[in-house]
C-alpha cells in the first residue's frame, strides 16, 4: 500500500526566514505533486516533479525530488505572510490510473 508522509504537520514561520517541508513516500511512483490549499478553498497546483533530481522553482518556493530516497522537499525562501496556507504533497503512478495519494498536509502560518 502506497503511503505518503509529510512533516512537520504544522510550521510557524517568521517572515524573512527559510524553511523546508518534507514529503516521504513508501513505494516507487511516477510523479510527485505539490499543492497549496487556502482555508475553505480547493487545491491549487504548485509543482509536478517527474524524474529523479528534478527541481522546480516559482517565486519563493522551490521543490525537489530524490526518487532513490523517495523524498521530496518544498523549500520556502524568505517567508512572507501570503504563503500562509496548507501544503500537500501527493504521488501518482501511471499503472494506477494516475490517482493521487496525498500526504496529511503541512499547515504553514507566517507571522510578521
Amino acid at each position: 500500500e502506497l503511503k505518503v508522509e509529510q512533516n512537520p504537520l504544522f510550521l510557524s514561520m517568521q517572515e524573512g526566514k527559510n524553511y523546508t517541508i518534507y514529503c516521504n513516500y513508501s513505494t516507487t511512483s511516477d510523479r510527485l505533486y505539490w499543492y497549496r490549499q487556502d482555508p475553505g478553498k480547493s487545491l491549487e497546483s504548485l509543482f509536478v516533479l517527474l524524474s529523479n533530481g528534478a527541481v522546480k522553482q516559482e517565486g519563493r518556493l522551490m521543490a525537489s525530488l530524490d526518487t532513490k530516497a523517495r523524498l521530496s522537499t518544498l523549500h520556502i525562501t524568505a517567508a512572507v505572510h501570503d504563503l500562509s496556507a496548507t501544503y500537500f504533497c501527493a504521488v501518482a503512478r501511471r499503472t494506477a490510473g494516475n490517482k493521487l495519494t496525498f500526504g496529511g498536509g503541512t499547515r504553514v502560518l507566517v507571522k510578521p
Binding site: 510523479r31 500537500f88 501518482a92 490510473g97 493521487l100 498536509g105
Partner: protein, 113 residues
C-alpha cells in the same frame, strides 16, 4: 476557459437521507476523479473514471457510495443512507488524456446532521 465545477457548493442533510453530488469536468477531459477530504486531513481517493467507465473504484468506502458518468462528461456521486461520518468536502478533478495534471473543482461540503 471554464474550470471544473461542482454543485452544490454546500449540502446539509439528515442522517439516513440520500444525496447526489455533481461534477462538471473541463470540456474534453476524459479522466475524472472523486476524492474526499475530511477536516484537517489530505484528500483521499474514491473513484476514477476513464470515459464512461469506472476504471478504479477501490477507494469507495462501502456500498452506500456509488458514482456514474453515463455520457463521459458530467459525473454524479451518490450516497445512500448517509451517516454523520460521511461529512466531508467532496472534491472532483479532471485530467486530459495522456497528460498528468489534475484540475480540481471547488468541492462540495457535505454535512450530515
Amino acid at each position: 476557459g471554464a474550470g471544473v465545477s461542482q454543485t452544490p457548493s454546500n449540502k446539509v442533510t439528515e442522517k439516513g437521507k440520500y444525496v447526489e453530488l455533481r461534477c462538471d469536468p473541463i470540456s474534453g477531459h476524459t479522466a475524472l476523479y472523486w476524492y474526499r477530504q475530511s477536516l484537517g486531513q489530505g484528500p483521499e481517493f474514491l473513484i476514477y473514471f476513464q470515459g464512461t467507465g469506472a476504471a478504479d473504484d477501490s477507494g469507495l468506502p462501502n456500498d452506500r457510495f456509488f458514482a456514474v458518468r453515463p455520457e463521459g462528461s458530467v459525473s454524479t456521486l451518490k450516497i445512500q443512507r448517509t451517516e454523520r461520518g460521511d461529512s466531508a468536502v467532496y472534491l472532483c478533478a479532471s485530467r486530459l488524456d495522456r497528460t498528468y495534471e489534475q484540475y480540481f473543482g471547488p468541492g462540495t461540503r457535505l454535512t450530515v446532521t
